[in-house]
Symmetry: C2
Subunit: 419 residues, 2 copies
Amino acid sequence: MRAEILSIGTEILLGHITDTNAPYLARHLAEMGLDLFYVSQVGDNRGRVTETLRRAWERAEVIVTTGGLGPTEDDVTREAISDLIGEPPTVDAANLEQLRAFFSQRGIAMPERNVKQAWTTPSTTTLPNPRGTAPGWFVRRDGHVIIAMPGVPREMERMWEEEAMPRLMAVAGQTLVTRILRVIGLGESTVEERVSDLIHMTNPTLATYAKIDAVDLRISAKAATRAEAEAMLLPVEALARQRMTDPDGTNYVFGEDKITLAAVIGQHLLRLHWQLAALESCTGGLFASMLTDAPGSSAYFRGGVVTYATDLKEAQGVPPEIIERDGVISDATALAMAQAARDRLQAQVGVGITGVAGPDTQDGKPVGEIHIAVITPVGQRVLTAQIGNLERGEVKRRAVRSALTLLWQTLSTTMAAEA
Amino acid sequence: MRAEILSIGTEILLGHITDTNAPYLARHLAEMGLDLFYVSQVGDNRGRVTETLRRAWERAEVIVTTGGLGPTEDDVTREAISDLIGEPPTVDAANLEQLRAFFSQRGIAMPERNVKQAWTTPSTTTLPNPRGTAPGWFVRRDGHVIIAMPGVPREMERMWEEEAMPRLMAVAGQTLVTRILRVIGLGESTVEERVSDLIHMTNPTLATYAKIDAVDLRISAKAATRAEAEAMLLPVEALARQRMTDPDGTNYVFGEDKITLAAVIGQHLLRLHWQLAALESCTGGLFASMLTDAPGSSAYFRGGVVTYATDLKEAQGVPPEIIERDGVISDATALAMAQAARDRLQAQVGVGITGVAGPDTQDGKPVGEIHIAVITPVGQRVLTAQIGNLERGEVKRRAVRSALTLLWQTLSTTMAAEA
């Protein structure tokens, strides 16, 4: 089946917002095995939306739209779909009641213009939207499916995952099951290479996506029932996990689905009854910030020190003779920083990060040279990374990713040894 | 004139990358006064690219494409444009020489397949690309302009600003001048409200864009010459600056064009010969990280401490009796943290940030309650903000923005008083 995506909203055409709904939907459509050949953005104009819908109707069986479902005159998606399928909209009593309930729960009277959000047509099924006022439309007509969803990403994503996607699969008599393996410590091209023979499968499908904190390996299987789809997915997931493990047992999958690396590190620390502290210089606080993005991190994160000035490193407990001997940008200094973090901030686990964020070299060391140390009650690890002469923010981000990876590997090894 | 944007690349249709080129170009086209009614994304398929170009040709005078200019068989933008205008491409000797020079500078032989990147046609002017191998095309034919640029944003943006946009303006016999006023301390809707009577002007144009660290007010004027455009822009800029100033003289414009708030704060600190240190808790290191994103920040940023655990605040010099009396989440604690930062980290300027990042309340204070203090050699300021029960990362980002704003205001006032 061919699919087409249409994003509706004048604010997109003015460049006020970036359309992130289209790539989100594109990923999901690919997983479902649908062919996506065209994506379009069009403004809040009934004629132009209808024209674009008509063209999509001619070249695809499935049309997914986002935006234009608000209550104002500018919101014309419902009108355009009605024009296209030749079904004048009518007010649905149940929809209207739900809409009034949404407003009265918030203690406000529903403005009359919102009535159009309760519209339906004979070929339309309403898709509930607990996160906003605009319900979606699921239209089946003449062998085509049109799915209309709100433009607000958090409303759209829930509606897609909970309502639209399962219905669309049901039309094809199928269920889709997806599993994401989150990979760290391998570059995207290495991950791709390791699964290159699996990447052209059509069911299950397997694809890689580079995210900020990891590479995602998404595996999706479709079948008549959920149980069948899961049965198809399992061996491919097992194979993919095997490919993400080195012969010596080193595993690069830190978690599944939507969990973050910082959250997994937090879970490990809680299980080990350890608390963490950090001394960082070139990453300027970003390491601490990433760790504290995880809710509940105060249970295991003691704190951190950003020692930008060299004399502050010494004031925080890094022995001057080490800096004198090996330099600020060195493994020895990173280790001394990790030890100082443990001592001064009273934590079982200490992390030290030193390096050159750029744009200038420092101490004769090139931009992008990073030294990271992790010390725990049972051992220590040091990592030297050469990130390269990248933009300052990018050096910081990659250095933090390396530090989180080293920390996760250290904690995982400890847990494996204890198990 | 009507314009249309076409983004080309199968990786867009698979959801592997988000098309950020289209919103970038949309903003610029709006400033130039062009009407953008349609944006499309299409894969690396010669037939589909040609079909989409043909449709754009029918409904717009200006077509801007990105992507599909690489050396592989999959890169078909040049072929599709040639098909559309009926001009078979030929190898341009000067282009080829430049291309070979690009490779030989990097010490590698040019692969033969790259020859197609030296193609041209009779209606085509080559747009140089110092950041990559793919030059762009500027095609003028039958009252239409087609601009083809690479998909890599940093190559595209330079080519647009330096080559394509000036040529496009010249076609219309015009020059475009843009000035961005960067606004902090006012929400986007307030900024919009204050310039609401100016927002519908057509030349100069004025538009607001919410960015991560500020609200941008973009003013663009077009005229036959640069001097004329600047003369038109100046009074509107002056008026906009006036609107961004309160009757008591409080100014909300911290800088112009592409400068960041962190960089402006750095400039102020350098001018005042002051260094900065921070103690932060709920923002978890993000404040220090934002400050150290500015190149050269080691000249004025001493360091910071993330005191996540309450006893660490005390260990870093926050008097226990203040925490005892006013609580951890209070103005008094924020002030004591700022003072401790100055004392312990030996800086003239101290910043203290305490608050509740969520998802749980703390000390009976709601999620989103933030206290920020700035102490300098000539005074101090405290700010209490109620950010609201937002997602944890969002609370952190807004708290940091408030802290940077307070810091900038404090330094600006000092500089104004000294001047």
